[in-house]
Subunit: 430 residues, 2 copies
């Protein structure tokens, strides 16, 4: 384990930290896992966000196997979890670096010992650019790559970057009506030439984010993603033909958490006159989810050629647990879980577990008739059959859709074993 996360382990938690047991004395985060706590025994307060360690382990193994079979590298998107402890876990698993979305996020990662960062965004702020440049100059082991998508952006970055080491940039390819990125090969070549011409920048590769594509037609989506990725390969070939890339290997990067198979299939075909590295950036594979990405990864698994099919499946490691506070009508119960606690942008959480208190406590799967239908700021409305004996004090474990907007609602999540014993705590920095 990296020494750089020791300050996280030393962080004192107390009842002011959401989920930490309110009636316990303050405790160092690193000591949480050795207290013998169990979520089902009521040793945490509710709501509480948990990560199932065995599922994290299996998801990590699945991705290692996928990468081994395909020859791609991964620079997982850290914005999903913003948890340096998980970043180091991913680096120990073989990740090439960590992707981040903003200078603030990059700063959090660097301050916790992450030395290779892909900042998958354009940079506009003078202060952050100054910090990056000063840090690159001060720390020879630090590498940071960012994106460019316009002549003006290249000019602005080059003008603000005044240090000794040039800043490596990836040229971003977008799609008409999409998000950031140049809209054509011709435009891309112009930007690449400008980056090449600047002595403050060095063109290190090309990049796109295909994850913005998503309709109700998976086949059409996959086709649109393939077209985009093939165009990215063409852009890389055109840049190489003009010798615009800097020294060393060329990075070909794409890949959210939905189409990384297509990224390997397309970018893995690109041959240049120098080494290339296909760099995936999936942020959600580790925690996975039980909604949005579960559906998209089921499509992905269906597309995989036999040779790339790792044993097992990605599974949701992230759950949010809440307590029933009221059962005001036979078919209605309310949980102490709200918009402040769980993602609600790509589907509401779904009840997955029911822990019944009483003389014979029992953990059972949530009955199929249960449905979480409304999320208020601090309450969830659960509709259920009148015959189900759910009552105040009972616990409900919810599966979530969209890890990114669940992690960001917690400063501390708990790692648990398969019996919901608390084996660790993970701190986030949002």
């Amino acid at each position: 384990m990296s020494q750089a996360i020791q300050p996280i382990l030393d962080t004192l938690l107390d009842g002011r930290t959401k989920g930490f047991p309110q009636d316990r004395p303050p405790l160092a985060l690193g000591a949480v896992g050795s207290q013998g706590w169990n979520l089902l025994a009521g040793d945490l307060d509710f709501p509480a966000a948990i990560l199932r360690r065995s599922v994290l382990d299996r998801n990590a193994a699945w991705m290692r196997e996928f990468l081994g079979r395909t020859g791609a590298s991964i620079c997982p998107h850290g914005k999903t979890t913003m948890a340096p402890q998980l970043f180091h876990r991913q680096l120990e698993d073989g990740a090439w670096g960590i992707t981040l979305a903003t200078p603030h996020q990059a700063r959090v990662a660097y301050d916790h010992g992450v030395k290779r960062i892909l900042l998958a965004n354009q940079l506009a702020g003078a202060g952050p650019i100054r910090w990056i440049q000063e840090t690159l100059d001060a720390d020879p082991a630090f590498e940071l790559f960012c994106l460019v998508d316009s002549l003006e952006g290249v000019g602005r970055l080059a003008a603000l970057a005044k240090g000794r080491r040039p800043i490596p940039v990836l040229l971003e390819l977008g799609i008409p009506g999409g998000r950031t990125g140049v809209r054509s090969l011709a435009e891309g070549l112009q930007v690449a030439r400008a980056a090449h011409a600047s002595d403050r920048l060095v063109l290190a590769g090309v990049e796109c984010f295909e994850g913005i594509i998503g309709t109700r037609d998976p086949a059409a989506d996959a086709e649109a993603v393939r077209t985009w990725l093939d165009a990215l390969g063409d852009l890389a070939r055109a840049c190489a033909a003009e010798d615009l890339f800097g020294p060393g290997e060329v990075l070909l990067s794409a890949g959210g958490s939905a189409y990384f198979d297509l990224v390997v299939a397309s970018l893995g075909q690109v041959r240049l006159d120098r080494p290339v590295r296909v760099l995936l950036r999936s942020g959600c594979y580790l925690s996975h989810d039980a909604g949005h990405y579960k559906r998209l990864v089921a499509e992905l698994e269906g597309r995989l050629p036999e040779a790339w099919r790792a044993p097992g499946h990605l599974a949701p490691a992230l759950e949010v647990w809440a307590q029933v506070v009221s059962r005001p009508e036979p078919t209605l119960a309310f949980l102490n879980l709200g918009k402040r606690d769980v993602a609600h942008d790509l589907g509401l959480p779904e009840p997955a577990w029911w822990y019944r208190k009483g003389p014979e406590p029992a953990l059972v799967p949530a009955p199929p008739g249960w449905k979480l239908t409304t999320l208020y700021d601090q309450h969830a409305k659960l509709e259920l059959p009148a015959s189900d004996a759910l009552e105040p004090g009972d616990l409900v474990g919810c599966a979530v859709s969209h890890p990114c907007t669940t992690f960001d609602k917690w400063q501390v999540l708990y790692e648990v074993d398969d019996q919901y014993g608390v084996v660790g705590a993970v701190r986030t920095f949002f």
Copy 2:
């Protein structure tokens, strides 16, 4: 200013805090306001969340005037901001106490010197109840009220409350199909009798949360709210007739941020054989917003009788500022602002200000043709006329809808003067 917030003022901020200028050395939060920083000069990083101090002042004055004219008290909902500095500002403004939604939030408030808390929720967790009981016993100046809405809830709370001081409870009245709360006067009386009969509890009043009512028909909504509030008054009279309330004044509490005029109109009519206090709980009046609550408060102002009409109007004090990172098409720009930074549950943010860089920097209202149409995790898509010269590096100030789900995306917000000079910093605890 309360000494209890000194630890907040002493908090060291650095570039790992979102919005704090990344290239500056660490600084105590309490010193932020004396640095001479200005948002428009680029002294903060983007995105950054700000509170306009003059607007906070005017909103506070408006509410003081409204309370003075109506005779109601306020126990503002602290869950909106979770900022103890703002809690103390509200207490200094005359607030009766602070409302919170969860034991965790109550703990944050208490640890920062808030001595009277209305926990507007049912309590289910043994640990939190233990902490409350122990704290009530240890600190004679501490008062905490919570809600009950079932015989079972009364039984559970009474069984877990083992301290010397009984816990004061408010009986919650709900509506069929609504949220928590008893569904009828008869059911309410049963619960009130049980609370009265317990030596661990004392019935301190009645309560409802009418803010869950909201359709597209304001007149019908107002009528439904009036009916609910009148029923709450009937419930209070019925409890008083059976002498179920504890000693001292009876609390009659309701009032989110949309219908507090109706609360005063209805509950202000209730006469019992002892003193009553009409207790509003609006959480959003102080920051207000430019979307959801702006519309609801415009309806509210239209209903106000002349005698209750305070001068001026509530106005949005909360803004989130972002920087343009890309203009990939003539009619598209992208801001470094995402779901992680601003509310998106009751309408997307709206561009309000444009700060153009260049040789003659200028702050102008955002042109009417600008529209923020998609919020990604870390980007916002801004559609605009091709002729508008917005470019990377420019700043866009956004008005927000729903303060609750904006505050919770920031650990630190900045207070600014009317020229966007930074005059302070406010820490949140989510």
